[in-house]
Every structure is written in C-alpha cells, then in structure tokens.
Symmetry: D2
Subunit: 381 residues, 4 copies
C-alpha cells in the first residue's frame, strides 16, 4: 500500500474505467483538499484506487535463510548472552523488506526465529497474548513446560504454546545443545493492539502433571479421546505435541493411498482432535511429503507461509526467486505470490514443515486460491 | 410405562401431593371418560401420574450372554444356513424382557447380535437407515467394504457402517472362521418410523479405493488430518476403523498419567477426528481399562449400554444382578439402573468394550447421571 | 412393526431377492430356534425382513379432532374437576390407533391436549424432562410463568416451556375462560426412559423478572440481540413467546416477496434467535400461510406433524383421509404418509399452525422427503 | 510499536526483571548485530521488550468529527465532483495520528467516511473483499442494491454490503439529497494483503428480487425464519437492513425490563438471525440507549469503536479527551483506551450507534476488558 500523498495517487491505465476514481485535479479541488486536511478528513477519490487495489500487493519479498549460515549465527549467540538476561536467546528471521524490518516479521504477520539452548539452561517462565509454536531442529534433552504440562521434545517434533499459557523451556543437564524454530503471531497481535505480557513469579514453573501427560492423554490413538471431555474447555488443542515418530510414517501411509495434490504433494495439517480445526486460532502448521521427483504446479493464495525443510533436497520457485533447499533451510512465500515446489531427489521423498496464518485468513472469510493457468482475468471472488 | 386402562392408574402414596393428579372416580366422571373415548381423547388426569413418572422406569432387565454358550450357538448357525439366503448369519441377543422380545432389542434401543462368517463367504451388499458397527471377537481374514472402502479387520478392532452406506462383509479364502458382535440402532429407527432398506444391484461392491484407505488417510497419527478437508462432508467419522493394536497401548498410556474415574476406571471414546464428537450420530462406543483390582463405585444414568469383555475377568453388579465375566461375555446395563464394575484380577487390567445410545440421549439434552451416595431425594434436573 | 412369532414372519414376494432373508423352515432349524430362545437369543433371519422394512410403516393413523366437539368436551372438564386436584385440566388427543392409545400419543412421539382454565385459576407449579409448548386458542388474561419469567398470552401466541423449566399457568381474575393446545414430547421421553418429574415447593412461582421480560429482551426487533449474550446459556430459545400480532403480518410480508412452496405455501419456523435452529431440541413448530385458492402438491416425509387451524377453511388429504377443516380443528399427519393441503377460500389466505418432531429426526440424520411424482422405486437415501 | 533501531530500544525500569531482555551493549555484541543484519536477521533481545509490550499501546488517538463541520464538507463535494468519475463521493474520516493517515483509518482497522448522493444519482456497481455497512444520517429516497437485492433506506437504518457482494447505490429522482456514514474494513484487508476489487460490467445492477425482499423474508418477526433455510448459505446475515422504526422501540422496551450495563447503558447488537453472531465476519455494529442522566463508569477493552450519535446530547470521555456530542457527531475510541459515556439530558434517553472490529478480536480469541477500579496490576489474561 502506497503512502504517497493523495495528489500523487498512481495512475494505472487499468483504472480509467467506470467504478474507479478518475477525477482530474483542479485549483478548486486542491483548495477543497487542503480544507479537508484541516478537519481530519480527505477526499475518498484521491486515495480510492490505491486502497482498493485490483488484487493484493504484498509488501514482503521471498526470502531464504540457509541453515548452514543460520546455525553458525545462532550458536554464536550462546557464547555471547545468557538466557536469563536475554529472556530468550533467539536469532530472529527478518523478511528482506521494509515491512519485515518495520514489523519484525519473517513474512506477513508471522514472526520466526531460531532459538538455542545449552544443556542445563532454562529460559525464564512468562506468558503473552501472542501464540507460539516450535519445530525442533537438533539436539537432545529439550523440553517445554506449558501451563504446568511438561513435554519432552525430539527432533522434528512440533509443539504448541497457545496464547496466554505460562511457558518456560530448557535442556536437561545430560542433553545436547538444542536448536528449534519458533513461530509466533507477534506482528499480528501488535498491529491489532491486543498484545499483553507477564512474567512468572518464579524462574520456572513447577510441573503440575505427569511428564508428557498431554500426548499420553490426547495423542494415544487416532480418534480415541477421553470420554470426559469436560476436562478441556480451552479454544486450542489439548494435544500440544505432535511426534515426528508418528507423523512421518503417517504421511508415508497417506501418500500410499491418495493421489498427490498437484501443488503440494501430500499435505496434512496439525489439528485439534476435539474440533478437527487448526490447533490454534491464529497460527497453523502443516507437514507435506513431496514424492521422489515431484514437480509441483504453480499456484498462489492469500495468507503467508514460512517453510522449514525437514528432510530431502529440492527447490521452490517463489515469484522471481528460485530457492534451492536442503535440511533445515528456512524460506517464505508471501501472500498472493506464485510458487511451486520441486523434489530434486529422484529416489527419496522430501518433507517440508511449514507454518502459516491461514487460521486468520480463513476465519475472516478471505482465503482465495488461484492455480496457474486458470483464467487470469477471472474474478477472485 | 403401564398400559393399564385409565381407570386403573396406579395409586402411589407419593402421588398424593399438589402438582400430581388426585382425582377421585365418580359416576359423572366415568360417563365423561366414556364420552371422551368416543372422540379419540382421554382425560389427562387419568393417565398423568403414569406417563409423567417421578423418575425413569426401564422396561428392560439386566441380561448376560456368556460367550461359551453364545459361541456354540453362533457356530451352529454356520452349519444350518448359508449367508446368501440368510442375508446375514447372526444370532440376535434379546433382552430377557417383554420389551426386548417386542422390539428385538438387546437393551433400550440397541440391537446386537453375534455374526459368523466362514473363509470364502460373503454377505450380500445392502444398506439401511439404521447405523451399524462391529467389534471383532475372533478369526482371521475378515473384511468389510463400506461405500467402496475396503477395510481389513483383526481381533478387537472396532469398525463403522454408518447410516445409508452400502456395505458387504466377508472372510478371505485363506482366513479363519470369524465371529464379531454387531451393534445397530434398528429398534430406534423402527420406533421413529424412519427405517429404509435397499439391496445392492450386485452381490458385492467393487472396491473403489486402495485397501484400508480410510485408516491410512485419517488414522495415521493423532491430530494429523489431510489439509483438504473438503474431501469429507458426511456427518459420520471418515476414520471407519479403530485398531486394537493402537487402542490398547493408548489406554495403557492414558492410565499411566490420569487418575481413574471412580465409576469407569480409564474410559475413552471412539470419536470422529473431524469433530471430536461421537463417530456416528446415533451409536456411541467406548473402551475402558479397569486397573488391576479396581473396585468401582456405583452410579446410574440415562441411556443404555451393552458391554463386551475384551480382556480380563471380573464382575459387574447391575441392579440386583451380579454378572461375573471373562473374555467376550456380553451383558447390558439398562437406563437409570445402578451398576458398578470390579476387576477380580489383582495383577492385570481388564478391558471392557461397550456401545451405547448416548449420542441420542445427549443430542436431545436428556443425559442425567447420579453417583451412589449423592442425595437421593435431590432433583435430577 | 409386527410382533408375530418368528416362524410366522410375513412373506412378501418383494423379499425373494439376494440381500433379504429367504430361509425355509426345517425341523433342524425349528429345534435350533427353540434352543436359541432358551438363551435370550433368536436367529436374525427369522426377523430380518420384518425389522428392516423396505420403507417406514407407520403404526399411527391420520386422525381429525373437530373443534366444535373438542371445545364442548374440554369446557365440560372445567365443571367436573378442579385444577389443583387434576394437576392440569387437559383433554388429551389420542391417535385413533393401538399405538396412539398405548403411548398416549396424538401422532408418533407427540403428545397433545386441549387445556382449559377459568378466570382466577392456576395450575400447580412443576417441572419435567419432557418439553412443552402451547398454542393459545381462545380466552383472555392467560399467562404462564417459566423459571420465574411471567409471560402474558393472547390468541394464537405460541409459547415455550422447555425441558426442566419450572412452570405454572393461570388466568387472571378479570380474564375469560381460556383454551390452549399443549404439545409435549412425553411419549418420546418415556420410550427413551429419560423422563423425570418434580413438584414445586409452593403452589405457584414468584415472578423473578419484570413481566414479559423474555419477549421485551429477546424479541424487540428482528436480528437485534442483547450484546451481553453470556446472559443466556441454555440450549433452548431465550425468546419464549412468539406473538401472533407479529407473526401474522410477517407471513403476509414474506408471501408478498417469495414464491409459494409447492407443498406448504409460505411456511416459517419458530426459531431460537441465538442459533437460527428450532426453539427447542425435541419439539419444532411452524406457521404457514396457504394463499387464497392454494392447491398444494402431495409429498411425504419422515417425522410426525400435528396441525391446528389458525385461520381459514380448506382440507388436507392425508393418506386415504380427506380432512375438511376450519378454525381450531386439529389433525395429524403420521410419518411417511402422503399429504396435501388445499385452501378452499378463493379470496383469503388460510393459516395453519403445526408442531412436529423434526428437531429429533434431523438431529439424528434421518429426515427423508419425497415429492409426489418422483420415481417411486428410487432410493430414499 | 516503535520503529527505533535495535540499539536504541527503550529502557523502561519495569523491564529490569527476570523474563525481560536486559542485555548490555558490548563491542562484541555490536559486531554480532552487524553480522546478523547482513543475513536478514536480528537478535531477539534487542527488540523483545519493544515487540512484547506489557500491555497494548495504541497508535491511534481519540478523534471527534463534529457533524456541523462534516456536513458542510461533504455537501461541498457534491458540487465539486460527480459520482461517476469519483466512484463514490465520500469524505473520509482520518484518525488524527500518523497511523490514521498512513492506513487511511478512522481508528484501528476501521475505515469510515460520509457519503453524499443527490436525487437521481447512482454510484457505479462494483465489489471488493472489504466488507461494508452504512448508517443513514439524512435524506429521502436512498436505496442500495446488494447482489441484486434492492433495499430502500430511511434515516438511522443500518444496512450491510458483505464482502464480495456486488453493490451500487442511489437516490431516486423524487428523493432528497442523502448523507450516510460508510464503515469498511479496508485497512485490515490491505494489511492482511487479501483485498480484491472488481467493477461490474454495467453501471448498475438489475434488481433480481422484489424490492426489500431481504427484510420482508428474514426480518418479519423476531425468531421467525423461513423453514427452508437452505435458501441461505453465505457466512453473513441474510437480513441486510435493520430498520430504525423497529430498532428504537426495541431498545426502549429492552431498557424497561433490564438493568443498565454500568458502562454502556442498554446496548444491543445487529446480529445474523441464522446464527445469533455478528452480522458479518469482520465488522460489528451496535446501538445503545443511555438513559436520561446516565453517567457511565469507565472501562477499556481491546478492539476499536467508531460512534455516530443517533439521538440526544452528552459527552464521552476518551483517555484525556472529553468529546461533547449531539446528533450525528462522530468520534472514536481506540483499543485499550479508558472511556465513559454521559447523557447530559436529564429527561430523554440518548442513542449511540457504533461499529467496531470486535468480530475479528473475538474470533482470534484476543478480546480483553478491564473495568475502572479493578486491580490495575492484575493480569489481563
């Protein structure tokens, strides 16, 4: 969205039609505009074409964060600051654009960073309106405590920290230095002016439940739920961790009985088993399997996505950028940007973890998708 | 509910209060009642106390069907009739009461029977408004085909045949004679006068999807769902089979982190992963683990339950009946009847499969539960 | 549903197909059947065709209750019994069939009766699991108190008494003898064995809210709701009365901009403004306008309906019965029975109030409708 | 949210606690920060306290737009431009802040403007992702056509133009110059990068339905809905206009039986009669009655509100601003800003129309409210 002064509104020839603003400047109008400005107003037709674009125009650019670089940077942070003073020791991924820098965003309203923890360290307990989730990349002995529920974390597990829940993290003394990717909706919560923060009275929460009670209660078997559902009233998933040791074979099985989607291969969402919807109200996450040699078709859609390569090698074309990727590289696809995925390995599948703002876009009724080759001039409605 | 003539309405001393009918017979009233009868009417106060009881009075009696007897009976049926002519070779469990015989019901609105199939046999394909499900008891090589989805069945798997779905069953030629328990809502569908039936144009359906596509698509990992949910619009669960090999360890895990319920030990429901609700709209099913030596408290509730012992030995007190049970014994608990479960094994847990009409009772807003020892005179509302 | 002994199952030539039971009697089978009966079992194939009919076979018959007769009968009850001893002074409408008499039902699971109250009388306060509603037919000064909400009632108003709500009724001393039609789901609650009853500690409830607070809070203007919805959590409508002075003109407006439905003319439902669904979970009600001279097409559907003529004259063909009706005549249409409505007045519209069990049939997923002339052999699924 | 460089992060003494970032600058860290910047990253602890504020900090300021000024300005626009070239002749209300000017916003994500139309004029038909609604302020003969439904508009009516619906407006030749207030979610749709726009192939839509079919079908009587609900599948209200002639008396009735809310007097929402929720997914609207002499208590909440005085005179304290208001003055209350309303008329009620972004804030689970005098230090969670 342009922030040009009203009288310099862009003149797109496509706008010279009935139903668009086509008012010519005159001295009288200029005087009128000056008068309006004095009264906290402006003339709609001087801004209309700008604020009602023919289609969305993203302010974000496709950006790649290669893991071999990121890993070095985040490990260095462990030498430079301690988590007690840093709050959290995170290297934030900043979209390579003015908007990214302004909103501290990886893409759209998605915040992301790589966090590192050494054996024996803990991050101080706190909570915030912003929702968070994490995708474990490497290490051993990591855990998180969410509202008193302690959850152990292994490579490629996906874990939730829903909005308003107390949380602290750590790595056990006998563990290994651990790195994970954080995803949060901080930019959205700030832009909506609804972000609160609170520190816990102690450094860490006491565990209030048996270890891993969340997955052992809610994640035992597909479709099997405790009969006393009144145990859970929160709007987010009671299943707070999704194990890679379950998810990977599930995707392989899924891919053995279903045709691949032309754009995304075999793609599944982490969902709330009590509702079938996204696990949280503002952040979604998915895991997809690109079959060996998969060459996806291009499409674009509203909503933003940040990817983390779980396994394999390939490339994703995002607008004009071709991002070659291998394990743990991170890249993003901004709203309404054409993109397609290719698995460059002809023998083995690739796995892409990704997270997104689809729960927001869908709940507001504004998800739009366009496959490549569909009539370009056709309405998006 | 009594079917006595109006003038013989029962006289319960408890009814001699304001708000109950307490009209004395008179010659004028008798003449009036006769007149009413001529016009397809009657006087409310001659029936009121009877049709508005202080609390539900079940017409069903607690009944036990021991498997050692049932197994012989159902295996004999395999010698006596062939499935093509019998439609389905099922020994129906009839509640030991007038109501059970009248409505062909095991308990309340629940139909149940034991079905046997020999290697190489199939039952002809058909469909009906009544919903069905099955709990596999013994055998090998059994399968069902539901609306073109072929599902293989192993011991203690639980499988759905939702209302209106085409279905046929069989045992492969290299399998073993198989016995399962059918559960259906036939009495409810008949009493609601909404039961339709249709035979398939051919003996068996062609498989339209890869084998076991339902569990491989929807049952891969807890909380993991295909991202394209528009694949499934039906009101029942797309996950049509729940595997014992998943369910048993899930219950063991669950029991390791949760306190047992005083009445039911550790109890979980088979649910629709797209909604978190019951898998079907009229029939519910649960599996429960009674810890070693568990001595449950008594309670009663509206709704009817039929149990099948999956594993272990113990007894259940149902009203005045004490049912000692071991593997595959079937017994029922009628609506609003006191009952408690005891695991007689001090070393090993017991597992009880059960099915019920709770989805109906709950969706109509009429589920009521009372624990033993709570104030008996207190309102059930 | 037949209650014939198993060996006398009806032999319908249509049943001589694969997928239906076609087992011939033999001495061995007879011996087997005797053995089964000893163990609370029976052979499915001896009952299958009977309990799985090709289509629903209602046990109820179309019945008409002419108001000129009913009015006399119900007024006589006011001379014969007083409400304090009768509980409620109601002439119950009994379907002219064994089922109607057995279940005290007007049609299907619907109970109905005409209640009369004289000026100054009250009925003692009580509550029950059964839900109730009332359609006011004549009089002045009638009121009801539902859980402390006092509601005044005028001719053709429709008022709720949801399940479990305390209620008492009366007519003010300066009013006129009042007659209304009660509708309840008593037969359903009894057959589900979930019916509780309780008397109020005093004869009448104290009003806890301003008079008519329910319609004045929730029924002020279409689509306008109190912003603090947390005021209402019950599963039934907070709007407990629907005024004829609003409903009649609304239907006239509606009919002026919509084409009539071929079967029902212009038909609207009394709904819960918080959900758009039926006002209660087990009982539905509608009001329909048949345009002057309307000749409806025939259809049939599952679910039962009881009509009360609010205005006009015409006839309804129900199966083999032609019911000519005028104001306040009551008649019923049993499940899956062909019926069509005709307005015999060529100048004025007719208005039919009706209530039904559609909320039950719909929530269980078993509503089926068939228009006349559609392929009779076609599946109802 | 500050856009200061990372090394100038604000230093709030409240932040000197465990759980907040408290890292001191060092040369090594500065070098590290420079390195991070080269790789599209930054150190979380240099921004953390800024992007995770203790509580929301709005970028908007309370602003008042007095009608006597606005009316003159908008009427002048009618002399200066014609609607065919202007698209829509709207004076946009711009929040008196950088954010307001940047996002073309009245407050938060709410766009608003005053639109004027002369007799015989029409605005060209178009549609957009942004949802719109209008509150009629003066004139006669105005109408809108929404997806072929023509709706006539009178003073203080509230009318919807849901997202993606074709719409054009006009004033009939025999009408009077009309002014209304537009409300849209344009800033939100742009910031989410999901805003599409399309012009209609002709200047105006043909009416496809009888005039006012929407209110005559869906707005006849409270709680009365067409029985064939399958007529309406859209996620917004089928009732597209709420008449002042219905709404005003409804509020007066409501206020006669309910106690006033301490903050808002008697407040009701325009809702979707099919769901009881807000009429659209992104924009909400309410009408409230402040009793004669009402002196409201102060509270604050997340979410933004724009008010238009429908009737009466009084003032609203918003943060440090005291806005005295009378008919048709417009003012706003930004997110998490203390405010209270006072009716200065001791004889007559005042009526405030308002619209808001509560549907967004609520659907994302981030609505927080704090009454004045509650423990200020207490958690907002």
């Amino acid at each position: 969205m342009s922030t040009e002064p009203a009288d310099k509104q862009r003149l797109d020839p496509r706008d010279d039609v009935r139903g668009r603003s086509r008012v010519q400047d005159t001295p009288e109008l200029r005087a009128y505009y000056d008068e309006l400005a004095k009264h906290s107003t402006l003339a709609f037709w001087t801004r209309a074409n700008d604020i009602e674009p023919w289609e969305p125009q993203t302010r974000y650019v496709p950006t790649l964060w290669p893991y071999r670089t990121m890993r070095d940077l985040v490990l260095r942070s462990a030498d430079l600051v301690d988590p007690a003073r840093a709050g959290r020791r995170v290297v934030v991924l900043i979209n390579d654009s003015d908007a990214g820098r302004h909103y501290t965003a990886a893409c759209g309203w998605l915040f992301s960073g790589l966090q590192v923890m050494r054996p024996g360290e803990i991050t101080p307990a706190h909570r915030h309106t912003a929702s968070a989730h994490r995708f474990i990349m490497e290490g051993a002995g990591a855990y998180t405590v969410v509202d008193g529920h302690r959850i152990t974390l292994e490579k490629h597990d996906y874990v939730l920290t829903p909005n308003g829940c107390w949380h602290d993290h750590g790595v056990t003394a006998d563990g290994k230095t651990s790195i994970w990717q954080d995803g949060l909706d901080i930019p959205l919560m700030n832009i909506l002016e609804t972000n609160f923060y609170e520190v816990y009275p102690e450094e860490a929460q006491q565990r209030q439940y048996p270890e891993n009670d969340s997955p052992r209660t809610w994640g035992g078997a597909p479709g099997l739920l405790p009969s006393r559902l009144e145990q859970w009233q929160a709007p987010w998933s009671p299943l707070m961790v999704y194990r890679w040791r379950d998810v990977r074979p599930a995707l392989v099985e899924f891919s053995s009985v279903q045709k691949p989607d032309p754009f995304d291969g075999h793609i599944m969402r982490y969902s709330n088993p009590l509702s079938g919807g996204w696990a949280m109200k503002t952040l979604g996450a998915q895991m997809q399997l690109l079959p060996a040699g998969f060459e996806g078709a291009a499409h674009r859609h509203t909503g933003n996505v940040v990817y983390n390569v779980a396994e394999g090698r390939g490339y994703t074309q995002v607008g004009d950028h071709r991002f070659e990727w291998s394990e743990h590289d991170v890249f993003c696809v901004p709203s309404w940007t054409w993109h397609r995925h290719v698995n460059l390995d002809s023998k083995a599948p690739a796995f892409l973890f990704s997270f997104n703002d689809f729960p927001v876009v869908e709940s507001l009724g504004t998800y739009v998708e366009q496959p490549e080759g569909s009539d370009h001039g056709k309405s998006a409605f």
